[in-house]
């Protein structure tokens, strides 16, 4: 290789290195969390008009910066935190001490970056103190309008009002608030503590009540359990006692079983001995009977039999003697009687013969007289009977007639009276007509009608008779009843 080649190669490499170094010196790259602010020659963009910034803002890419002609600064876009310590007074005049933190950053749009760059590019560490002052001022004014209850309970209101009041300043500064946190609210007067006390006391009392109730329930449950345990123990003891009693009874029975069986056995023995004694006694009795009583009985029987036989023999002897005497007397009597009978027979036969004759004559006479009397009596009896029957029939017929009339009267008095009048009607009319019979010349003024009236008057005499009879009847029996007739009626 020629030395020129090496020189040329070295020159190329050197040139490349120089180019790279130059490029490195000129080319600036903006990191994601920063913005490059380039000012100087050519920084004003073409065609941007009057309100051009006069510098270039590069984010997220690279740009060439001509050393000496242009200046490039970096503005950090990442978040910053500012601790807030505020001592202020609330609406109620209670001093409180509030600690919080605000997290903010430079806005991502070009106008925000431009605003922030103009204000803070060389004093980026001063940014936090400025934010601190800004937010503490706003917080003081806001908290002055709020009560502690709002601070505690309504933090949303605090943050929203803070945002509203700080919005303009933050826009001017080109910053945005990512987060505003109130960390602590301290008050020296103990207001917050006292504020919480009623609730805490309520919660504590609720807790105590709940605890007492649970305690009570637990105690009740324990007592019930204890009572149940006692009951179970009692039951088990009762059962144990009963079982023990059974055991004792069984043991006693078992203990008494020996003597009892002994006694039973002895009783059996006694019974058997008694039977044996009874048998012996019976045997002795039997023996006594067979040896003493039977012979004695036999002897007595012999004696009695002998004495009876002797007595019978004596009686028989006496009877025989009496009989003999009797027979002898009878024989004598019959001899006398025969003689007397013979005499009597002869007398009697004579008497009988005369008596028979007298008797036959008397009987014939009596027969004739009796026949005559009988015939007369029969005739008289027949006559009397006939008369009696006739009179009885007559009486019965009269009684019947009276009873019929009485019944008729009871049923219809007027009918009966009328009937009787009707029966006598001819006689009545005849008597009425006799008055006309004495008249020689009769002048009748009304003609045929007059004759009719005359006859009618004569005939009405019968009707007058009826009325008279009724009056008499009523006078006799004012109540219309007829006690005589009814008493006559059977």
């Amino acid at each position: 290789m020629s030395p020129e080649f090496y020189i040329a190669a070295g020159g190329i490499v050197a040139a490349a290195v120089v180019i790279i170094l130059l490029f490195k010196a000129v080319w600036r790259v903006a990191e994601p969390n920063e913005a490059l602010i380039i000012s100087g020659l050519g920084a004003r963009r073409r065609g941007e008009g009057v309100d051009s910034l006069g510098f270039k803002i590069i984010t997220g890419k690279g740009a060439a910066v001509l050393p000496g002609f242009q200046a490039a600064r970096r503005l950090r876009l990442d978040t910053r935190a500012a601790n807030l310590q505020v001592s202020c007074v609330t609406q109620q005049g209670i001093p409180v001490h509030i600690r919080g933190v605000v997290i903010y950053k430079v806005g991502d749009d070009l106008s925000s970056i431009a605003n922030a760059a103009r204000r803070f590019l060389d004093q980026q560490d001063f940014m936090t103190s400025a934010i601190h002052e800004l937010f503490t001022g706003h917080l003081r004014s806001i908290i002055g309008n709020l009560t502690i209850e709002d601070l505690i309970l309504n933090r949303e209101r605090l943050t929203s009002e803070t945002r509203a009041s700080a919005a303009d300043e933050m826009s001017k500064l080109g910053l945005i608030v990512d987060s505003l946190q109130i960390q602590e609210i301290d008050d020296e007067t103990g207001y917050i503590v006292n504020l919480g006390k009623p609730h805490a006391a309520k919660v504590a009392s609720t807790a105590r009540i709940a605890q007492a109730q649970r305690d009570q329930e637990a105690t009740e449950a324990e007592q019930i359990a204890a009572a149940n345990m006692a009951a179970a123990r009692r039951d088990s003891r009762i059962k144990e006692a009963s079982y023990q009693a059974e055991i004792d009874r069984a043991q006693a029975t078992a203990r008494q079983a020996g003597p009892l069986s002994e006694a039973t056995a002895r009783q059996e023995v006694v019974v058997q001995e008694t039977k044996a004694a009874e048998l012996e006694a019976k045997l002795a009795e039997q023996r006594l009977q067979s040896q003493v009583r039977k012979p004695a009985d036999a002897k007595a029987y012999e004696t009695v039999t002998l004495s009876q036989a002797e007595r019978d023999a004596r009686i028989a002897q006496a009877e025989a003697e009496a009989r003999e005497t009797e027979l002898r007397a009878a024989a004598q009597a019959s001899q006398v009687k025969l003689a007397a009978a013979a005499d009597a027979e002869s007398v009697r036969l004579r008497g009988e013969a005369s008596g028979a004759a007298t008797k036959i004559a008397g009987e014939a006479e009596a027969q004739a007289a009796r026949a005559r009397g009988l015939a007369q009596a029969e005739a008289a009896k027949a006559l009397g009977l006939a008369e009696a029957e006739a009179s009885e029939a007559k009486g019965l017929a009269e009684a019947q007639a009276i009873r019929a009339r009485a019944e008729a009267l009871k049923e219809n008095q007027e009918a009966v009276i009328a009937q009787q009048l009707a029966e006598r009607w001819p006689e009545v009319v005849e008597a009425g007509a006799k008055a006309f019979g004495n008249v020689d010349h009769m002048v009748v003024l009304n003609g045929a009608q007059g004759v009719e009236e005359l006859l009618a008057k004569a005939l009405t005499l019968g009707g007058a008779g009826i009325g008279l009879a009724r009056a008499l009847l009523n006078g006799a029996t004012p109540n219309g009843t007829e006690p005589e007739i009814s008493s006559k009626a059977p």
Partner: protein, 66 residues
């Protein structure tokens, strides 16, 4: 900016400066928001659409039709 939709993170209403998060420039940024129609209110969490943009960080919003 105009036409973008965003989510309300601070109540928007008359007399209030609300906050709305809008996806822009590859991220999500917070903007101060006011109602485009006076007396309209948007509670936190509702979706709104940007009808006007006042740089750097203020938008006027209306109810999004979604």
């Amino acid at each position: 900016m105009v036409g973008k939709q965003g989510r309300v993170t601070g109540k928007i209403g008359p007399g209030l400066v609300g906050e709305v998060m809008i996806p822009v420039r590859g991220g999500v940024e917070a903007f101060y928001a006011h109602p485009s129609v006076p007396d309209e209110e948007f509670l936190t969490g509702s979706i709104v659409v940007v009808v006007e943009y006042f740089p750097p960080r203020t938008v006027y919003v209306a109810r999004a039709l979604i």
